[in-house]
Amino acid sequence: MTLTVTRSRRAAHSAPSARWRSRKVQGWLYAAPTAVIVGVLFIAPLVLVGWMSLNRWPLLGQATFNAPANYLKIADNPLFLDAVVFTLKYTAITTVLLSGVALGLALLVQERRPGVAFFRTAFFLPGAVGFAAAGLLFYGMLNNDFGPIDPMLQALGITSEPVKWIGTPNMALFSTITLVIWRFAGFNMLILLTGLQAIPTEVYEAARSDGANRWQIFTKITLPLLRPTLALMLILSVTGSLLAFDQFFVFTNGGPDNSTVSMVMVVYRDAFFRFDLGGAAALSVVLLVALVGLNTLMMRRLR
C-alpha cells in the first residue's frame, strides 16, 4: 500500500505530465464498469431500501411518507417475532452440527493418501447442486409414499411406520438441518482444509517427538492454529443461517403451521403476499443493521 502511494506521488511530482494524467484516466476507464455496477446495483438500492422503509409503499400505486410507522409495526408482527426465535434456534443448531461434521470430514481427508481426492470430491459434490434442486431432492426422498428412506428404516427395524419428516415442527427442523448439512458440509470442509494445510508439519513433528498423543495434538495444536479458519467458517455459517430462505421455501414451505418460517421468509411474504414493500423494507433495514453489527462483533471477538 505504501509502495503504491509513494510511487504515485513521485510520478505526480516528477511528471505532472500528460502521461501521468492519461494513466489516471485510463485507470478510471478500466474501473468504470465496476463503479457503474456497484453504484447502480448496490449503493443505490441500499439508499432506496432506507427511503422505502420510511414510506407506505404498496406493490402497486403511489408511495406516501409515513415514518416511522413501518418500524413501529414490527413490534406488532407476531409472525416476525416468532421467526426471529425460530431462526436463532435454527442458526445455533445448524452452526454447531455443521462445524462438527465439517471438521470431522476435514481431519479425515487432510492427509494426501491414495483415494483421498475421491472422498473430497464425494463430500463436496452436493455443494455443486443448487438449493432449489437439493430441497426438491429431499422432498422426494423423505416422502412417505415415494421416498426410499422410510422403507429402508423399516427394513432395518429402526422405525415401525413412516416418519413425519416434515409433518411436525421438530421433525421439519431436523430434516431441514440434515439437508443443509448434506449440502454444505463439503464446502465447509474445503474451508477448513485450507486452514489445516497452512499449519506447518514441523509443529506436528515437534509435538510428536515431545511425546504428545493424538488428542493432545488436536486440542493443543490443531484447534488453536485453526482458530482463524474456524472463525471464518463460523461467521459464514451464522450469517448464512440467519438469512436462510431457500431451504424453508422449497422444502417445508414454512410449515407445519408456520413453525419453520425464517426471518427472510417474513420479509418475502410481507412484500409479495401482503404487498407491503415499505414494511418489508423496514424489516430489511433492521436485518441489515443487525447483521452488519453482528459480523463486526464476531470478527473482532473471533480473530
Binding site: 503504491t4 510520478a11 489516471k24 484516466v25 485510463q26 485507470g27 478510471w28 478500466y30 474501473a31 468504470a32 464498469p33 465496476t34 455496477i37 456497484v38 447502480v40 446495483l41 448496490f42 438500492p45 432506496l48 479425515l108 464425494a122 463436496f124 459434490l125 452436493p126 455443486a128 447442486v129 443448487g130 438449493f131 432449489a132 434442486a133 430441497g135 426438491l136 431432492l137 429431499f138 422432498y139 422426494g140 416422502n143 415415494f146 421416498g147 426410499p148 448434506w182 474445503l190 474451508i191 485450507t194 494445510q197 471464518l232 459464514l236 430462505f245 421455501f249 422449497v250 427472510v264 420479509v267 412484500a271 409479495f272 418489508a280 430489511s284 436485518l287 441489515l288 452488519v292 459480523n295
Partner: protein, 254 residues
C-alpha cells in the same frame, strides 16, 4: 483401514441422494417427457437459465477483468473507496437488498427481464471476482506488458492480446463460480421474474410442487432435479482443480 471404512460409509451417505434421484428419474423415461412438457416447456426454462448464465459469466468476466487490471496497475482518485464499496457487497445480506433491487429494476425498465437478473448476479459476484482478478494481475511480472508496450501496443491492446491469456486460470475460476451461482440461484429469480415464460429452471421446477392441485408426480420432479443438477455436477468435476485453487488462493479470505 478403519479410516477408509469410515470414509467409504460417509461417501455412500453423501452420494446416495444424488444416485437415488438419478435412478428414480430414469426408472421411467416418461418422467423426462412429462417434465419437459411442464408449464411453458422445459426448453423455455433451460434456455432462460442458459441465457442468464452466459450473460452473468460474460458480464462478470468483462467487468472484473477490466476492473482487476485497473486496480492492479493504475492509480486513480477514489480507487480505495471503490474497492471497499465493492467488498462491502459481501457484508450486505442478499435478501435485504433484493426488494429495493426489484423496485429499482422497475425504474430502469428491467423488471421481469433476464438482462436485469444477470446484472444483479454480476453485482453479487463482483467482490470475489474483482478480488481474484486484481490478485491475478498483480502476480504477473510487469515486464510482460512493458515488452508489449515497447513493441508498440497500446495498454488496451497489451491487456487484450497478452495479459488476459496470462490470467486464464483466474478467469476460469471466476467464470465457474459465476456459472454455479447464477444457474443455481433461486431467490433472486423468484423475486425479480414474475412471468412464467421468463422463469429460470429453479423457479420453474419448484413451481411443479406448488401449482399441482392433485398428487405431486415425484418421478417427474426428480427428472427436473437432475436437469438442474447435472450441468453443475459435470462442470464441477471437470473444473474442480480451479475451484479448490480459488479457495486456496484466498478467495474466501477477502
Amino acid at each position: 483401514m478403519s479410516r477408509y471404512l469410515t470414509l467409504s460409509a460417509l461417501a455412500v451417505l453423501f452420494l446416495f441422494p444424488l444416485v437415488w434421484s438419478g435412478y428414480v428419474s430414469l426408472e421411467e423415461p416418461s418422467n423426462y417427457l412429462e417434465m419437459a412438457r411442464f408449464g411453458e416447456g422445459i426448453d423455455t426454462y433451460a434456455t432462460n437459465s442458459l441465457l442468464v448464465a452466459v450473460m452473468t459469466v460474460g458480464g462478470t468476466l468483462i467487468v472484473s477483468a477490466l476492473g482487476g487490471y485497473g486496480f492492479a496497475r493504475f492509480d486513480f482518485p477514489g480507487k480505495n473507496l471503490l474497492f471497499l464499496a465493492t467488498l462491502a457487497i459481501l457484508m450486505v445480506p442478499y435478501a435485504t437488498i433484493l426488494i429495493p433491487l426489484y423496485v429499482l429494476l422497475g425504474y430502469l425498465g428491467l423488471q421481469n427481464s433476464l438482462v436485469g437478473l444477470s446484472l444483479v448476479f454480476v453485482m453479487f459476484q463482483l467482490p470475489f471476482a474483482l478480488f481474484m482478478m486484481r490478485n491475478a494481475f498483480e502476480a504477473l511480472p510487469r515486464e510482460l506488458e512493458e515488452a508489449a508496450l515497447v513493441d508498440g501496443c497500446g495498454t488496451f491492446r497489451a491487456f487484450w492480446r497478452i495479459l488476459l491469456h496470462a490470467v486464464r486460470p483466474a478467469l476460469i475460476t471466476v467464470g465457474l463460480f459465476a456459472f454455479l451461482a447464477s444457474w443455481n440461484d433461486f431467490f433472486a429469480p423468484l423475486i425479480l421474474l414474475n412471468d412464467g415464460s421468463s422463469f429460470t429452471l429453479p423457479v420453474a421446477v419448484v413451481s411443479m410442487t406448488q401449482h399441482s392441485f392433485g398428487a405431486i408426480d415425484y418421478g417427474m420432479l426428480q427428472a427436473g432435479v437432475m436437469v438442474m443438477a447435472f450441468p453443475c455436477l459435470i462442470l464441477f468435476i471437470v473444473l474442480q482443480r480451479h475451484y479448490v485453487r480459488g479457495f486456496m488462493s484466498g478467495a474466501l479470505r477477502g
